[in-house]
Symmetry: C2
Subunit: 596 residues, 2 copies
């Protein structure tokens, strides 16, 4: 029986509650967005006592369903001013699933406290610990300390110095399965700053004494999850590392998400040097292929001592294993884990930086400081756009980002504050943000559908909210939807609704590559959810219900159709090499949620 | 016959147009807000080519009506994202009135230009001059250069380095009547940055060859204006310097607007040290009385060489003469002109600085750099709130503000970007802004009506938009409306509508002190307007019509009721010494514009 843990940070108390009957099918994003819409005043200040943090493992977290251990974190976002759900892998989803915790709701804030706290969650127990020793330090250090203090390899999520200082690009870190890299980010929307506002550095989930959640119809569940594993393993994107002949097979396992870098650059949709071009001449040097080669090279050179890796799982039980560990070329030791496509783009192509080491170092710094990499790259781009540092200069970008450690550095605070704030401060009029959140790694001018998602998502510009790239660039069922077609409202809505469902199940969004192509895989996936709950859940209705709550929250927070728009420069500046602008009419954007 | 000058900065062309028949009664704010609502897309980026600058002298500018030479500047505001009108004295209103220019509309922007331009307006002529020598320098220097290049003492408005760098607290400066102080600011809302975005440093209005505008019924007009002068001279606030016995009489002439500092501190409504107290223990030291004494003292010491002054007119023909020139105590030479109440508050009490010299120096720096003082003081307060510099430290505040000269200084850009952006960057959750614009010098917690105006004004937090202080603190007709009374929607609406009318006539808002008390004065004022136009203008309907257009613009820009609210901390943090919060219900706020 799942429980809800409700924590009050004003008096440092907690209580365990039953899941409300009306919430029984809600987990992950459905749970966080429902609690926020029911309990948080949408007009409240996101970094003061009225906001709440809601943490919820996906429905199937802790089960043997493949790749189902994602964790959702929600709050009113300090970056967008609207509702926010961000999710990540790591250990915490699985741990909380095993502990039978459906969600943690953190309310209030200590009054005038200078102390920092951590929350320790275990089997039927919760302690709120004073842990000033965890504050003010890098997150690699923090994870090391926590794992030393709690030797059961707990899941850890929380905020770094950026969040502790209430800076708006503070992400919520999570720890890797097997090492101290804090690279499992529920990064977007500044939720780390909400942790900071409640004086919480870490939420530590100790799985000891936990057990696997049981499905209502366990037999059906087990059968379905096995079928689903087969489907995932058979797909060219999500499949096995090598084919029967021993050749590289699964795109994600071999090259990770960063397999996209060359593809998008070729397609002319890779935003380069602050969204000035769609093609990056150094794409190959920072691509997934380059990481793959570097791993192989260091393995050959350093043998067992080499720490680099591809086909690395971001959470227990992930069969897609799209993550990686990027090694230092010189030593083979771990540099950063993971280097994702979005990061290679934001801290690489978007800054005109084509040196893998520099990109990895910027990534490592973000992970250590507690920053979302997508937003951080866009923020550094604002400094470049304003002429403070030049495009393409890795060492200067690294030096700028390092200032974020220094509490007294105004530049350090600005570089931690997101692209919108940095751009406005620096007099930039080409700020690639929607609802205050910066754009990810797909230029909306040549790929219209993703632009429709960016504009209309409840989350601000977010590729994961409705990943039309799957249809527009990668091709579902072998058929590519023309990326230049302007009629994309229906496509974006379908992706957004399905995503809201997936984000609630604990499944990683990347199962979409497989289930969109393979009906058996889709049915097996759906059966795992239905048999777990003992209900027949309609994927689209469930997702739409979540989106409706999120839209309603944002409306009360003051969002209107004017917020469902891309920045002006996308409509007036043509993007080379295709020299196109974003010309989807406003009516098409408003059609996405018409009737919602 | 008045004309409209339309300038296109993309191709550097201009044309003269007739005033549209539908616009014939519109001038000042009514003109700027009408043009913006008819011609500017409310969702456009305020600092890109689609925004327009509209400049319009008040209806009676250039006539002999007393204190009627105010100039309105309008655009979509980069600070608020909504419509903006800011007005000021100086020479330009009178010059344009004499030249028969109802308005100047500046459209477009040069493409990829590195050049800076000035617009020279004369009798039936306009030249767009390349004036790179005016850019990148302090505004005292700029005015000196322009007056040297154009020896006819033209009116000058434009932007300083802050505006040239597109920073969001850039005000539009105007020159003083007789010296090179650029202290006549249409300061609020960042309109200086809109000048910068169009690559315009200065608009120079050469009155040579101009003439006094003629009223439709000149006889009636002349009679009315004389009656009005008598009414103004007889009032204790707006009246003569000395009474019949030679004692100080008119509050404004003797002490300027800064007569309010002690009054508000006594009333417990003077926001002190970042809105943490309503009373400032050093109020007397930076008050209007202190300036008066300093002027007298330096006059006694330096005789004719003393440049300090009270009873100083901000524009030709002002009979209230509430302005001043603050001298250096050591030399008697001019330090800054003017030091207004709002500035003494924002750069003094609000920062905990009680040394007149330091406050005057901060004021002078703002004037030279091109910053609105109200917003600048609130911005520096954010640095203090965040612990970057301490409250009360004048020299550190001065050093911080000086960084704004340096284009490469990120701190300098941030201190020029307004309180909202600086506060967010620095992790401050007590940002005193509404619609992105910082609050002026009256704490809304003990004085509810002004809070209602701050929340609901189309302009963001703006005391001049509906100055209920006149009723709540100063007492109209000898009767004070209880400042703690929560029913203030009607009061605020009445003030906002009347203000929109006054802001269109060219009259200074301070005539309100007199016309609210003296019905003869009110009637005479109204008669000047009616006889000038040859129409019977209803004050309230006219004002409401302007407000309706502004509200409609803001609605299309994405504003909702959620934007008509004060920041959360005003509702939760009691203000000493009265220990009250802002408790006006949302329904009362929404009642201000119900039916609009």
């Amino acid at each position: 029986m799942s429980k809800v843990l409700r924590i009050n940070m004003e008096d440092l108390s907690h209580k365990w509650q039953n899941v409300k009957p009306a919430h029984k099918t809600y987990a992950g994003r459905a749970f966080t967005s429902t609690i926020l819409s029911e309990e948080v005043d949408p007009t409240c200040h996101p970094l003061r006592e009225q906001n709440k943090i809601v943490i919820s493992p996906g429905l199937l977290a802790g089960t043997l369903a493949p790749s189902s251990g994602r964790l959702s974190v929600g709050a009113k976002s300090p970056l967008t001013g609207g509702i926010k759900e961000a999710n990540a892998g790591g250990l915490t989803g699985t741990r909380l699933g095993n502990l039978g915790v459906r969600g943690i709701i953190i309310e209030g804030a200590p009054k005038n406290s200078k102390d920092w706290y951590s929350i320790l969650v275990g089997k039927d127990k919760c302690e709120i610990l004073k842990t000033n020793q965890y504050a003010g330090i890098g997150l690699y250090d923090l994870i090391g300390k926590v794992w030393k203090d709690h030797p059961t390899k707990p899941g850890i999520i929380g905020c770094g110095v950026a969040g502790q200082r209430l800076l708006e690009n503070a992400g919520v870190f999570g720890n890797n399965i097997e090492n101290s890299d804090p690279g499992r980010y529920a990064g977007r929307g500044g939720l780390g700053a909400v942790f900071g506002s409640k004086r919480i550095v870490a939420v530590i989930s100790d799985g000891k004494g936990g057990s696997r959640p049981e499905a209502k119809d366990q037999e059906k569940f087990d059968e379905a999850r096995k079928t689903f594993v087969k489907s995932l393993n058979a797909h060219a994107v999500t499949g096995k590392l090598k084919d029967d002949k021993g050749e590289p097979y699964g795109g994600l396992k071999n090259y990770g998400t960063n397999i996209l870098l060359n593809i998008l650059s070729e397609a002319g949709g890779l935003p380069t040097r602050g969204f000035r071009s769609g093609r990056f001449d150094k794409a190959a040097k920072i691509s997934g292929e380059a990481v793959h080669d570097l791993v192989d090279k260091t393995k050959a050179k350093f043998g067992d001592k080499a720490e680099g890796k591809y086909a690395h799982a971001c959470h227990p039980g992930c069969v897609m294993a799209c993550s990686n560990i990027v090694p230092y070329e010189e030593t083979g030791k771990q540099h950063v884990s993971p280097l994702e496509y979005e990061t290679a783009w934001s801290l690489g192509a978007n800054l005109g930086i084509g040196i893998l080491h520099d990109v990895a170092e910027l990534n490592r710094l973000c992970n250590d400081i507690g920053l979302d990499t997508i937003e951080a790259g866009n923020t550094i781009a604002m400094f470049m756009e304003a002429g403070i540092i030049p495009f393409g200069d890795g060492p200067k970008a690294i030096a700028l980002l390092k200032k974020a450690y220094d509490e007294d550095s105004v530049e350090g605070r600005l570089v931690s504050s997101g692209a919108q704030t940095a751009g406005k401060t620096l007099g930039v009029t080409r700020i690639p943000s929607v609802k205050g959140q910066a754009l990810p790694a797909y230029d909306p001018r040549p790929i219209k559908g993703i632009g429709v998602t960016y504009a209309t998502s409840t989350m601000g510009a977010d590729h994961t909210a409705g990943y039309t790239i799957a249809a527009e660039i990668l091709g579902i069922k072998g058929k590519v939807t023309d990326p230049r077609d302007l009629k994309k409202a229906e496509l974006s809505q379908a992706f957004q609704a399905t995503t809201a469902y997936i984000d609630s199940t604990g499944y990683c969004l990347f199962i979409a590559f497989c289930i969109l192509d393979d009906d058996d895989g889709f049915n097996a996936m759906k059966t795992t959810v239905d048999s777990f709950l003992g209900e027949d859940i309609d994927v689209t209705s469930y997702g739409k219900d979540v989106l409706k709550k999120e839209r309603e929250f944002n409306k009360k927070a003051g969002f209107t159709e004017a917020d469902d728009r891309l920045p002006e420069f996308f409509k007036t500046e043509p993007l080379p090499p295709h020299n196109v602008v974003f010309d989807v009419p406003d009516e098409e954007l408003d059609a996405v949620f018409k009737g919602f």
